[in-house]
Amino acid sequence: MEEVKKISETEAIQMLHQYNDDLLPKEFGIIGKTWTILLLIIFLTGIYCYTNQLREGLAITGMRDFVFWGIYISNFVFFVAISLVGSLMTAVLYLMNISWRAPLTRIAEIIAVAAIIFAGLIIIVDMGRPDRVVNMFLHGRIQSPIIWDVMVVSTYMTLSILLLYFPLLPGISFCRDRLTDIPNWQRRMYTILSLGWNNSPEQYRIVKRAVTILSVMIIPVALCIHTVTSWLFASTYRPGWDSTNFGAYFVSGAFLVGCGGVAAGMYLLRRFYSSYEKYLTDDHFDKVGKLLVLLAVVYAYFSINEYLIPAYKMKGEEGHHLTELFTGYYAPMFWSVQFFGMILPIAILLFKKGRKPLPMFVMAVLVIVCAWFKRYLIVIPSMSFMPLQELPEEWKHYTPTFPEWAITCGSLAGALLIITFFVRFFPIISVWEIAEERGIPSGTIFKHLNKNNEK
């Protein structure tokens, strides 16, 4: 920090020029295009299957009276979990004044926005009567945790979008002014979205204040969304769900998967835009790696609380449930998830070599995939304890059907599409925040950006 402060005006301007050139959104290459098309195909398949579900009812899924919540719900929990990273990276690290977070905030925030949008959509997909969503407003009962969830998720969605949008304003105006050969609609989009931004110091002042206010506001809301989501389970009597540890357990797991998401995003961006290497440095990977270890250890702590003490008692149905997880039907999945999603990442990332970009990326992907299956293990096995009598054979075990997988994958592809489009059209790394991080005085930044506008 000390030496960067000494940057001279001319140097600063040079650096800013460099940032601008490096960080403007660029057209996709062949890989980017294939990726987008692939996602679109998966997404549209999901939509198609959903229209079938609307016609035929939830009967096209593998759910039945016995296991009545399936991968839609576990996927919902996954989305809510990963969206928490927005508040962690932008708000917590921002308020703690951690400087290295600057190039990561927007990656985290767009993951948060995409995930929370699809969390909202997938929960409607799970409803038996999506045509009656409005009943929640006409007849909503404040006593129901579902209504709490609707309230906090929509609040979080709003705050996240604002937290993404406000610091993006200079970036949008910059695209508006600097990108030359772009189609008309794109320019119009920038013009509308930039809200007449002209880089005046006053505007910066307002945005910074807004970001501070939003950062403070979003932290309790973020804790709420995942705590309330855990309460959807913890407020019932079912073994495995009937736990007072659930809120903390869910939140800690959420931070872990979110951080994994950011690490994976960082790696991919760096891989496909070589100019980003200067901004997403090995040092950033190192820092995020350490953060991941910390979060994984916290998660391990709550996991031990969640499983060890009930396992010590092995109380009735709870004991049956735990046996199924530890040594029974779900054991292979349970132990792989614990090992690959928590223990292995901790072990690898404790070493400096493990925190290099590539191993980090592998660990991050493991964390994310295991987190998804962990949610499966939280949701589904708890429904297999009632007497298994008087049930048709095929109802006793839950196997998600093809349309169910297609819809779930479609929602994941949809969230990735939002992120992909964002990367394509907006600067994913914030120029002015990077400049501030590197110690360029704000006065110089405004002046420089202003000059650009006048050109």
Partner: protein, 313 residues
């Protein structure tokens, strides 16, 4: 009601529809034969006397007066169904010592509630509490808890508790979130995963939460204690169908319950036979009481096991 529009056979449906404010019986709400038959289980006889009535879609039609029933024998609207039958507090007693797995209760329940597909409201479980204890049969209806966890969690008040103790579901309001199924510690609820196959007579019937039909895709349903029958002073279908008098139904305020053959003091029955409630420890306060399977009327026979033994030999 919105679901009534696109049913195929309009003509028959008109006859079955809930018919309001007839010419002859001005001001009285009436209903026609199909539904009356369904509820009473009796055949209507033609009287030869014709009456003009006004259908819900505004047409005048002529029906035989023998086909007309007063509406209180039929359906109560979803909003009326939210208040209980005044002055009542319904309780059920299930005497486990008399159950021999005849399943007549279940069959009657399925038949009169027109349950299609896999949904079973009243299940009869083979229970064995521990390895060395004796097995017995246990019919399990909805417990109609006084502290119902399902009602607590419902986001739209589609499932509700009434003043007479009954917990009902309004399938015109249910959004199909299935949170109530998660919350119910007795797993009594069923979900309509697909379009229910409605029987001919019910497809045009006016919906009432008290009868539960026509069922609707994407909504939950469960045992309702037959409030439509209780309103008429009749006993629920399972109570009358059971040949062994396992089920008693009654009013806690009166302190009497009856299984159709004998009427007894509820408190005395509890005292004499050590009544208990299922899983009472979790504090749901069920309205269904059980009498323990002591001094059994029948030896325990497991049809499933016996069928298997037959196969092995």
């Amino acid at each position: 009601m919105e679901e009534n529009k696109n049913k195929p056979e309009r003509k028959n449906q008109e006859r079955r529809n809930f018919i309001k404010s007839g010419f002859a019986a001005a001001g009285l709400a009436l209903t026609a034969a199909g539904l009356g038959k369904v509820l009473s289980g009796k055949e209507d006889s033609d009287t030869g006397e014709k009456i003009n009535v006004l259908t819900t879609d505004g047409k005048v039609m002529e029906v035989d007066s023998g086909h007309i029933r007063k509406s209180e024998t039929c359906c109560v609207s979803p909003s009326e169904a939210r208040t209980g039958i005044p002055g009542k507090k319904w309780v059920m007693v299930i005497d486990l010592s008399r159950c021999k797995h005849a399943l007549k209760c279940q069959h009657a329940c399925q038949k009169y509630h027109h349950l299609s597909g896999m949904n079973v409201w009243l299940k009869v479980f083979r229970m064995q509490d521990a390895e060395n204890t004796a097995p017995y049969w246990m019919p399990k209806p909805c417990m109609h808890c006084d502290k119902p966890p399902c009602v607590k969690v419902c986001p739209v008040s589609a499932t509700y508790k009434r003043s007479d103790g009954i917990v009902l579901v309004d399938n015109q309001r249910c959004i199909g979130c299935r949170f109530c199924m998660a919350a119910c510690p007795y797993s009594t609820r069923s979900f309509n995963w697909e379009e229910p196959q409605l029987l001919h007579e019910t497809s045009g019937a006016t919906y009432s939460p008290e009868t539960g039909f026509p069922q609707k895709k994407g909504t939950v349903e469960k045992c309702d204690f037959c409030p439509d029958l209780l309103r008429q002073g009749k006993l629920p279908h399972c109570v009358t169908a059971c040949p062994n008098g396992v089920f008693y139904m009654g009013d806690l305020n009166d302190d009497t319950v009856t299984n159709g053959d004998e009427t007894v003091r509820f408190s005395q029955l509890m005292k004499d036979k050590s009544g208990y409630r299922l899983n009472d420890i979790i504090g749901t306060e069920p309205s269904v009481y059980y009498l323990p399977p002591v001094d059994r009327l029948f030896p325990f026979k497991d049809p499933v096991k016996e069928a298997n033994i037959g196969k092995e030999e």
